[in-house]
């Protein structure tokens, strides 16, 4: 038992000189002690503890060289201090095992608390972000709904600009005019109109703005308004009888203030019922189709010029053809000729020619069948003029819908 404790002792005088030592000094790394010399340099762990202030002093569990821990018992006695060292390494290790477990546990708990707090903070931040996201999504949704509503209104307005069909007499010649206008988006950039001047001149207009959507719709409305404005001029008759003049006028205005650099391809045709002549000007537009009463199809490809809006100095010409009873003139936009099937093949001009002889509904049905349920990629517009066989009078209620009489 005593050996397990490995007792060692030191005797130190009042001058802090080591006067004696014995026992298991080696256990504590004190085998080399020199008696008669200052003790503090040999046993530096005593620094600060001597001289003793009380008769007894105790320092528990001090780890010295070699990992050995000792209890230090000091006694003062008759002018010297006795120091007893007892080995407590085993007790220390036992205590350490318990203490280590307790501290490791506490550290783990601290870590858990910290992690939870961080998690909570992250969660709160996430919730906040989510709230913000939802709010901005609601805002965007409302904005979108509003836009859709506006566009739907615009579409209604635009479709109202397309004229109704016309069945009537022009200069003693019975004719019919039918139109289609189908924007690809809510609003489109195609323009269709027809109106009578002086009872014997029927003017047909078909335009296509170089873009789609709202901007194109505005350009289209502007172009339309300019042509409509000409009707009320005193020289309206001469401007439309030679339609290159009307085209030149409108082109000049459009080109002078065309910040968006959009342009309009336009076909303007004037049918003189007295002379049976159709005079037309093509401002960059697809040549119209002329189907003769005998079924032969020609293209009206003359009188070409720049689209409207590109250059103030653009020069326009016109060309004329004589029409006979049973002839049909079809003016289309490239939304029809360039309609695509799912393999991106185009509807093409031949198919347009083949579809003639019927009405516009049939042409439209052919185009839709060709697209085979795909998306309409461009605005579609067309005007169809048919010259009747009948030498007509104007029946009641069949006055032309627009224009000066």
């Amino acid at each position: 038992m005593v050996d397990e404790r490995a007792v060692a002792w030191l005797q130190i005088d009042n001058g802090l000189v080591l006067t004696g030592a014995g026992g298991r000094l080696d256990r504590y790394g004190l085998a080399e002690l020199r008696r008669g010399e200052p003790v503090l340099e040999q046993a530096f762990f005593l620094e600060g503890l001597l001289p003793l202030e009380q008769p007894r002093y105790f320092v528990p569990t001090m780890e010295l060289a070699g990992g050995v821990s000792a209890d230090l018992h000091f006694y003062s006695d008759a002018g010297s201090v006795w120091l007893l060292l007892l080995d407590v390494t085993a007790e220390r290790d036992a205590t350490r095992r318990i203490q280590q477990k307790a501290y490791d546990m506490t550290l783990l708990q601290e870590k858990e608390v910290l992690l939870n707090r961080r998690l909570e903070a992250v969660n709160a931040a996430l919730r906040e972000t989510q709230r913000e996201l939802e709010a901005s999504r609601d805002l965007a949704r409302r904005e979108l709904e509003r836009k859709h509503l506006e566009l739907a209104e615009a579409r209604t307005l635009q479709l109202a600009l397309a004229p109704p069909p016309f069945r009537g007499v022009v200069g003693g010649r019975a004719v019919t005019v039918d139109v289609v206008l189908e924007p690809a988006k809510e609003v489109g950039g195609d323009l269709v109109d027809h109106f009578l001047i002086d009872d014997d001149l029927l003017v047909l207009l078909l335009g296509d703005v170089s873009d789609k959507g709202a901007g194109a719709a505005l350009m289209m409305a502007r172009t339309h308004a300019l042509f409509r404005g000409i009707i009320n001029r005193p020289d309206a008759s001469s401007l439309f009888r030679a339609p290159e003049n009307a085209a030149r006028l409108v082109n000049r205005t459009l080109s002078a203030s065309n910040a968006s650099c959009m342009f309009v391809t336009l076909l303007i045709a004037a049918f003189d019922g007295t002379a049976n002549r159709l005079t037309y000007t093509r401002a960059g537009h697809v040549p119209p189709f002329l189907r003769r009463f005998d079924g032969a199809v020609e293209r009206l490809g003359a009188a070409g010029g720049l689209p409207l809006g590109l250059s103030e100095d653009a020069v326009y010409r016109s060309a004329s053809v004589t029409l006979s009873p049973g002839d049909e003139v079809l003016i289309v936009t490239d939304g029809i000729t360039e309609a695509m099937d799912p393999s991106e093949a185009q509807f093409g001009e031949d198919r347009v020619a083949e579809a003639m002889g019927g009405d516009l509904r049939r042409l439209l049905a052919d185009v839709r069948a060709f697209e085979a349920g795909g998306v309409q990629s461009d605005d579609i517009a067309a005007v169809l003029l048919k010259i009747s066989h009948a030498q007509g009078r104007c029946p009641a209620g069949q006055r032309p819908p627009h224009g000066k009489s």
Partner: protein, 167 residues
Amino acid sequence: MTATLQKKICMLGAFSVGKTSLVRRYVSSVFSDAYLTTVGVKIDKKAVDLDGRTVNLILWDLAGEDDVNALRLSYLRGAAGYVLVADGTRPATLDVALSLRGRVENDYGPLPFVLLLNKNDLPDQWTITEGDMIGLRNAGWWVRSSSARTGEGVEDAFIDLASRTLR
């Protein structure tokens, strides 16, 4: 023969703040990630050169304090100064350090000390603000952040404390 000058310096702080690691870094220039808690006190010696004079620092690495094991203030008997250690990633250990300092001063009067906010190599877990440090410095304290892992701030603290124990 002039006896070598010796100064007893105590390491004080909550458990696991790095007292033992700071002593090992300073005395043996090593660091270990393993945690072996100290029981009682472990004595080390480090000779330093101060103004051409060799001083032996006798380092008392004390067991850390927690709710159950209160510090035995008797260990501080004869200390020339002490190193207060807190763990910058565990804010509660700074409170422990402040409380220890109060108790030491109560029993032993004003002794030179330094305060180390240890483990500054873990910036993403750091919880002590620059404002906290400035507040403590304004109270006249010698405060540094340190790392037993990298050695940052360790030697400075011991040298500064040792030179103040000589005044």
